[in-house]
């Protein structure tokens, strides 16, 4: 059976059109990803700002088109879908966005977001049926319709709004939910509730998630697989627990060392953190490893070619770093 979502050699380049003379931005380069239809999984895409994770979300949701490569949903290429198939795709692939304040129209009561999808997808034949569907969806996220539906967005808390978005996505019974930083703007105490809903939808409803985040600790807690992006390429991938407990790529090691430990006696560990600005970044992308300017273990050959993924552990744990090139080790 064809996988649920299969991304092959996806590349997205911004800029560089006929009229623009400026440098191009490679947001995503030769990206591969496969999500199997069952069992349902939570696939985490992690990386810093500008690593291409939101570009990936936009591509999967069909907001922008690929420069080259393919996104195949259950055997059908996204770019070749007919209008009819696209509507089906839009229904089966849903999104939950980062900012629960910006997704609502402040002039409408919150039930408007539910009414809209019921109307667009002709989901209910009567008002009572529609109401029941909404109620069911809200119950899944632990809310009651009478308490919230007639309110305006500003009368709800951030956590409530984000749970409503989960309920909205759930109501369409999608196969895949693209969750772009769903908890980064929600309080720590409410974060667990949103993550718990994601786990329940995965286990009880068989919905898969593409969970996009920069927070590795939540990725560790709920993710099944993880892809760590750096500058549009995969730095390291594998099972979430294996990667985070035993990171191999120097960038991933830096990232994990930078997570503040909730213990005052343990200060930020590892090497001194370095960041570089966009200008240096663009210069460095011509050839070779994109992490070269910041890497503490760089070698000459890192400038010559981009590293391909090398196996570094069980269950497809790969790191794109020449440190793990077996041939290199033999030569040395």
């Amino acid at each position: 059976m064809a996988p649920l979502l299969d991304i092959k050699k996806a590349t997205k380049i911004y800029g560089g059109g006929m009229l623009s003379a400026g440098p191009v931005t490679v947001a995503l380069q030769d990206y591969d990803l496969t999500i199997e239809e069952s069992p349902a999984t939570i696939t985490t895409i992690a990386g810093e700002s500008g690593s291409g994770k939101s570009t990936l979300a936009n591509l999967v949701l069909g907001f922008t088109d690929l420069t080259s490569g393919q996104i195949i949903y259950r055997g059908r290429d996204l770019a070749e879908m007919t209008a009819q198939e696209r509507i089906g795709y839009r229904r089966e692939v849903q999104a939950v966005f980062q900012d629960p304040y910006a997704v609502y129209n402040p002039f409408y009561r919150v039930k408007h977001v539910f009414d809209l999808i019921i109307r667009n997808f002709k989901m209910a034949s009567s008002k009572a049926e529609a109401r029941e569907m909404i109620e069911n969806a809200l119950n899944v996220v632990g809310m009651r319709g009478e308490e919230v539906l007639e309110k305006y967005p500003h009368q709800l808390s951030g956590g409530q709004r984000q749970r409503m978005m989960m309920a909205r996505a759930y109501m369409l019974k999608p196969k895949l939910i693209v969750a772009d930083e769903p908890v980064s703007m929600v309080d720590a105490s409410l974060r667990a509730m949103i993550l718990d809903i994601m786990l329940r939808l995965r286990d009880e409803e068989g919905m898969s998630f593409l969970y996009i985040t920069h927070d590795l600790s939540t990725a560790y807690q709920i993710g099944d697989h993880i892809y760590l992006l750096y500058q549009g390429s995969v730095a390291e991938s594998g099972e979430a627990a294996a990667v985070i407990e035993n990171p191999k790529h120097p960038y991933v090691q830096l990232l994990l060392d930078s997570i503040p430990v909730p213990d005052p006696s343990v200060k930020w560990g590892g090497d001194e953190a370095t960041t570089i600005d966009d200008e240096e970044m663009r210069v460095s992308v011509d050839s070779g490893c994109r992490f070269y300017p910041r890497c503490t273990q760089r070698m000459d050959r890192c400038l010559e070619a981009s590293p391909v993924p090398f196996p570094v552990g069980a269950n497809n744990h790969n790191a794109s770093c020449f440190l793990y090139d077996e041939e290199e080790k033999i030569l040395a």
């Binding site: 720590a188 560790y220 503040p260």
Partner: protein, 346 residues
């Protein structure tokens, strides 16, 4: 006032960390900030008292809506209607800011206390170079200064926050998020204030940049000896950054202690909850779900403010508001769970 801070002076002197008591920069007493609504006042900050010593970083944590930003805004006298400072004193260098008006207030802001605002990266003027914005700040307060002297000073400031000198001529859109944040820090320390308030200084940044900004703040504190109040909700970051931590809930401080002490032993049930809900990268554990509602801040609650969510609630909690008490050395909390010797009752 029952909620007034009572610190045993002996404890303070014997404490291992932090400067002596007499070096108090900021002394807040029974601060109250209310927001007027058609159905009554919302008590956003209710009887908050604490002191900030010279050269220390105080962390202010709590969930959204607990009053941490409102407290900061009150210190800066930036509470906007329908909000108002309903009572209390804000003594900065023995001047009560709550009484200042007009030019006195304008002169105090930024020369004595400055702000790194929430989402600081969006607070820079997009059509002005970084240098012009810092120049404005300095000229407004210090009058005429020669361009050469000014340039030298700004370059020094940029160096202090770890920015390359070419940032001087750049516009905000040419900088990354972390660099913009550091430019804001440079601006906040431009006039050598005694107190800097940083409102969620790293909330929109990813971990590596967050760390760079955090380390910049620590570095600036070391070099200038400035005091800071850092507002946030990330306990991990607080553990790395601050000297003493104040935990706020529903407009009140419920626990206040040196950061080591609070991470060693959380006395207040709400602090326990906050620390338990930090996701770990060391061990996989089941998600800690917290249900429960904060009471309506418009009504004055009989008893403890945390009684609706507290797992250890007792009869006395529904009747009497627990006062702030020092139960350990320099470790204060407002909770009925402990007797006067700091022994837990159940």
């Amino acid at each position: 006032m029952t909620a007034a801070t009572t610190i045993d002076p002996v404890d303070t002197v014997t404490a291992s960390r932090g400067p002596a008591e007499q070096d108090t920069i900021l002394d807040i007493r029974n601060l109250q900030v209310f927001y007027a609504t058609p159905t009554g006042d919302v008590r956003a900050v209710d009887n908050v008292s604490f002191k900030v010593q010279r050269g220390e970083i105080i962390g202010l944590v709590g969930e959204s809506g607990c009053g941490k930003t409102t407290t900061a805004m009150a210190i800066l006298r930036l509470v906007q209607p329908p909000g108002r400072i309903a009572g209390g004193e804000i003594n900065l260098d023995s001047v009560n800011l709550a009484d200042l008006e007009g030019d006195d207030l304008r002169e105090t802001r930024w020369t004595k206390l400055s702000l790194i605002p929430q989402g600081a990266m969006n607070s820079l003027n997009p059509v002005m170079r970084i240098s012009s914005q810092i120049k404005d700040t300095i000229r407004t307060h210090e009058g005429r200064i020669s361009n050469r002297e000014l340039k030298e000073r700004i370059l020094q400031l940029l160096q202090l926050v770890g920015l390359p000198s070419r940032v001087y001529d750049m516009y905000p859109h040419e900088l990354s998020g972390g660099m913009k944040q550091r430019a804001c820090i440079a601006m906040a320390i431009a006039l050598d204030p005694v107190l800097v308030i940083a409102d969620e200084p790293t909330s929109a940044l990813d971990v590596v940049v967050q760390r760079v900004v955090g380390e910049t703040l620590l570095d600036v504190k070391e070099r200038l000896g400035v005091s800071m109040i850092v507002i946030g909700h990330d306990m991990g970051l607080m553990a790395q950054l601050v000297d003493r931590l104040a935990v706020m809930y529903a407009g009140r401080i419920v626990e206040f202690a040196p950061v080591e002490s609070i991470f060693n032993e959380q006395l207040h049930p709400y602090t326990q909850l906050l620390i338990e809900s930090i996701p770990s990268i060391k061990e996989k554990k089941p998600l800690k779900l917290t249900e429960g509602l904060t009471h309506d801040l418009r009504t004055h609650m009989q008893g403890c403010i945390f009684q609706l969510r507290c797992p250890h609630v007792m009869d006395i909690c529904r009747e009497e508001n627990p006062p702030m008490r020092a139960l350990r050395s320099r470790h204060e909390t407002a909770c009925h769970l402990y007797d006067d010797d700091g022994v837990r009752l159940h």
